[in-house]
């Protein structure tokens, strides 16, 4: 007893108690996105990103002293060996020191000075990261390469599986997510490290996942469209048909990310924060932007094609 299609547009509307026409209100969604993205872009141009030592090169020392210490004591010790840099204190005795890339001898000198002037520290919880400037540049270069290649591959794949128009709409939604993450990190000047690159690329791969599921439904419904059916309504129906899935999937991923963010410790904070923002933005752009952009492009194409036909007839 294979039926035509499981549900009509009306039925889909009835199932969702919160139903409203998502496609019709699309300019509101676009505006909301711009409201977040534009300040981010301006900030990117004005102040850029707060690059950590992974990008700029430098030394980062995380040490826990046996007794509470003061920030000035550490800064003074650094000055006495001719070093400068920001010092962050947490819990009264854990210090995070950032400075230029130190030679081993210089680092030893600093550690001895800190030991005598500030106090004893725990050797087993010491963390030292040293990144030479050349490595930092390499990371940035590779990040851009990876991003461009990933964009290329995804456009190719979606064009192959769907249509080029879908790919373009999907990629615009993707860039939206990346801009939201990068923009917010710039706006709040949160310091980024190499895991940030991983987060951005994962957002890149993952947020299109939601979009693809909706596109997949549009593709399926489009094939069943009858003469006179409105493309807008069909897209609206598709978005709502996949709504539960879009929301639930994001919730499970957000649960996983929140666990990492809250319980995972300092080293994965930047990563999980970027991912949290990205996944949330990804869900938003998949539901509220991607298919709406598709509608917009299709409308435009139909419009120009219609005019062309008229011209031929006349």
């Amino acid at each position: 007893m294979e039926k035509g299609h499981p549900a009509t547009y009306d039925e889909v509307q009835k199932i969702h108690p919160l139903y409203f026409n998502i496609v019709k209100k699309r300019y509101w969604w676009f505006a909301l996105s711009l409201l977040v993205i534009v300040p981010g872009i301006i900030s990117l141009f004005m102040q850029g990103l707060n690059l950590g030592i992974d990008f700029k090169g430098g030394t980062m020392i995380e040490m826990t002293f046996k007794k509470p210490v003061t920030q000035t004591a550490i800064t003074d010790s650094m000055k006495s060996v001719g070093l400068e840099g920001p010092v962050q204190l947490s819990n009264g005795n854990t210090a995070l020191i950032r400075t230029t890339a130190l030679e081993q001898a210089k680092q030893n000198e600093l550690m001895t000075t800190l030991q005598t002037k500030v106090g004893e520290y725990k050797k087993t919880t010491l963390k030292v990261d040293l990144v030479g400037p050349a490595m930092g540049q390499e990371l940035t270069r590779n990040a851009f390469k990876a991003l461009i290649i990933a964009i290329g591959l995804m456009i190719a794949y979606i064009s192959f599986r769907f249509q080029f128009v879908f790919a373009i709409s999907g990629i615009i939604a993707l860039l939206h997510d990346v801009l939201v993450v990068v923009g917010l990190f710039s706006l709040f000047q949160w310091q980024i490290d190499s895991t940030f690159v991983a987060a951005v690329l994962t957002i890149f791969g993952y947020s299109i996942n939601d979009t693809v599921v909706i596109f997949d439904r549009i593709r399926e419904n489009e094939a069943k469209m009858k003469r006179g059916d409105s493309y807008e309504d069909m897209v609206d129906k598709s978005v709502w048909q996949t709504m539960h899935r879009s929301v639930n999937t994001v919730i499970t991923v957000l649960i996983a990310l929140f666990s990492i963010f809250i319980l995972g410790g300092e080293s994965t904070k930047v990563f999980s924060l970027a991912m949290l923002i990205g996944v949330f933005s990804g869900a938003y752009s998949s539901i509220f932007n991607a298919s709406q952009i598709l509608v917009e492009i299709k409308k435009h194409m139909k419009h120009t094609r219609g005019k062309g036909e008229k011209a031929v007839r006349a």
Partner: protein, 414 residues
């Protein structure tokens, strides 16, 4: 039919439980050679990237130089007494990547590894007359004549013995300087020609200092000078702390996803939760089998992939709900739900997989670990869904045609 399915289901549940019970011990084995290997950020140690610097004449660094350097560095690493050291050569970028786990004094280790350690003997005018390559051994010892002092005993090779003999004959009564790189170790006056091939460098204040120089002399000098391009040093207890935190994050994440699926999807939610357990086991066993080194970002990738792995279940369940609402039986709904959802899932996951692969290809160090766990996770979740989830769902809907659709979260209007 009906009872058969129930028996099969119970057997499956018991099998999964048994698999979990049997897996905990081998997978969580703290011995890195037996359990899943942990990265340096989780067990403490030093990750070091040494960059070979071209010399002043601008002669290019050959792969042969890199191989020689690797052999020498490997010797020095062994002398440090580190378990399972990793020394890798990156010929393209002329780099040496060294991983030392659980090293007690990382600063000293770095010092020993990057030193060129060219041992030279120089005449009074400062010309090099003999090089350390002619040594066959160097050992630190207590100075037999002076209790508070330590020495390095040098033994020359056959050729070296002859050369050293000629040298001490030629410069009898003069001073011969012994240098390690540009550091003057000793400048003794030759009293008698030394033909035995034995020499001694004395006046070390600690045995440690003598031992360090002995290691350097014994291993020979690096053909190229090295600079530290990257160093990541993690204290042992900091690593363990990170490991505990990530495991805690993973467990809480898993529990909350479990609850969410249960509340939202009821019976299929239970199936999804079981699939997740099977999924986690598969991924961990793959790590174990292929010796995938687990890093902090790697664990984050794994936890993230748990969140993503449920996706397949969600897509299928939503599809089944739709099919059932449209009037199909549960059994038909499961079948068509699966076949339709499958294409969707493939399309959706290929893109994430593309991202993971690109990251793996361009990433370094711990980022690679993340990309790898993510990639493995995607494939494993597809595999679990196609095999395990489908089997269990089929068995459940096969129990009885009168199964309530509300168990699947579908309210069908009469």
């Amino acid at each position: 039919m009906r009872r058969g399915n129930i028996i099969k289901l119970v057997t499956l549940v018991l099998l999964v439980a048994a698999a979990v019970a049997l897996s905990i011990k081998p997978l969580a084995n703290p011995d890195p050679a037996k359990g899943i290997p942990l990265g340096l950020d989780l067990r403490g140690g030093v990750h070091l990237v040494l960059q070979a610097e071209p010399n002043k004449n601008g002669t290019p660094i050959t792969n042969d130089d890199m191989d020689k350097a690797k052999a020498i560095i490997a010797k020095r690493v062994n002398d440090l007494g580190v378990s399972e050291p990793i020394v890798q050569t990156d010929y393209v970028n002329k780099r040496m990547v060294i991983d030392l786990a659980g090293v007690s004094d990382p600063d000293k280790a770095v010092d020993i590894l990057k030193t060129t350690a060219k041992l030279t003997f120089r005449d009074p005018q400062g010309n090099i007359v003999l090089q350390g390559d002619e040594l066959s051994d160097a050992k630190a010892a207590q100075d037999p004549t002076n209790a508070g002092s330590f020495v390095v005993n040098l033994t020359f090779s056959h050729d070296g013995t002859i050369k050293f003999g000629d040298l001490t004959t030629k410069y009898l009564g003069q001073q011969i300087g012994i240098y390690l790189d540009d550091k003057l170790l000793k400048n003794p006056k030759v009293a008698v020609p030394i033909l035995s091939g034995q020499a001694q460098i004395d006046n070390y204040t600690t045995l440690e200092a003598a031992a360090k120089d002995a290691v350097l002399m014994r291993s020979g000098s690096l053909p190229v000078s090295m600079s530290v391009a990257e160093k990541r040093q993690v204290g042992a207890s900091l690593g363990i702390d990170s490991l505990h935190k990530s495991i805690k994050a993973g467990i809480y994440g898993l529990i909350n996803i479990f609850l969410f699926m249960l509340v939202f999807y009821r019976l299929p939610g239970v199936v999804a939760d079981f699939s997740l357990i099977v999924y986690s086991l598969i991924v961990l066993w793959i790590f174990w089998m292929f010796r995938v080194v687990l890093t902090l970002p790697g664990i984050a990738g794994f936890i993230l992939s748990i969140g993503m792995a449920v996706d397949f279940n969600i897509i299928i369940y939503e599809r089944i709900k739709e099919e059932v609402r449209a009037g199909k039986s549960l059994r038909a709904g499961v079948e068509s739900g699966f076949s339709r959802a499958f294409i969707t899932v493939i399309d959706a996951h290929v893109t994430t997989f593309i991202a993971a692969m690109t990251l793996y290809y361009f990433g370094t160090g711990s980022i690679r670990g993340f990309a790898l766990t993510l990639g493995v996770g995607i494939i494993a979740s597809l595999f679990t869904a196609i095999t395990f989830t489908r089997l269990v769902l089929r068995l459940i809907v096969g129990i009885s045609p009168q199964l309530k659709t509300t168990w699947f979260g579908v309210r069908r209007e009469a």
